[in-house]
Symmetry: C2
Subunit: 153 residues, 2 copies
């Protein structure tokens, strides 16, 4: 759709914002779809990255990982199952509370996480390069609002 550029802000700006939102959500959806396919051997999907991220600071229980990633406990279990098969994490009984399990990063897992973090770093740099500091603040604000809105969408 050809973007019509006028100097007056009011209605045009809102329409374009709507359209940009649309494109953004579509891109996000497509990104999730692509991420489901795992081309690289030690690659992490976005969801896996979110799950593993807290482990950089030390071992966690299944429950903790689920809560920090904002997912249900069974989902965390299932995801950890897959990561176990790829030897990215270990999962052992907690000796102090035998109901619980302790999940830790393996060296491979730590490397995979670091790689993904560098990818995020690259994304951040690209955004940072494209916007002024005060625009970055606006971006943060905007994304936070979008996240909140999505929760009730």
């Amino acid at each position: 759709m050809a973007t019509r550029r006028t100097t007056d802000a009011p209605p045009t700006a809102q329409l374009e914002l709507t359209e940009a939102l649309h494109d953004f959500f579509r891109a996000a959806r497509r990104a999730r779809g692509r991420a489901a396919r795992d081309p690289s051997p030690n690659g992490l999907s976005l969801a896996q990255y979110h799950l593993l991220e807290p482990l950089a600071g030390g071992p966690r229980t299944n429950r903790e990982l689920a809560e920090l990633a904002g997912i249900s406990a069974p989902t965390a279990t299932r995801m950890v199952d897959g990561l176990l098969q790829r030897a990215l994490v270990s999962r052992v009984e907690d000796p102090t509370d035998r109901r619980a399990v302790v999940i830790s990063l393996s060296e491979t897992g730590r490397a995979a996480l670091a790689l993904k973090e560098r990818e995020y770093e690259s994304v951040r740099s690209r955004i940072a390069a494209a916007f002024e500091p005060h625009e970055q603040e606006l971006a943060t604000d905007l994304l936070r609002r979008l996240a909140a809105v999505i929760e009730e969408l």
Copy 2:
């Protein structure tokens, strides 16, 4: 001091932006999970909305819908299958090219689409209310850049 700041952007702004991106994707993930359990009878998921939207302007082939939604043809077929069962669309052979199918909105489908559009309208209003007009332009710009960046994530 190896401060390699491209601009005067304090690292805090960049870190918060990264975190906001993180929160946004987590919210989007969870939203999709919830959508699987959508209780509303004629509700549309975001993906379904993106698929049906072009139909407001008239019938389309499966191929066209897939391309416009940015998904594969089999995915479009599958999604249309579900929408057919709910009688939100119709799907008939194209008499002029019998390889193709023509997909159209039913009255119910049109209503569901309109409802979702009103929901988006509400989202837009909330965002618009939160930002000044010139900030809306920035937000539009920002979302476009984010969408582009996400495509290569």
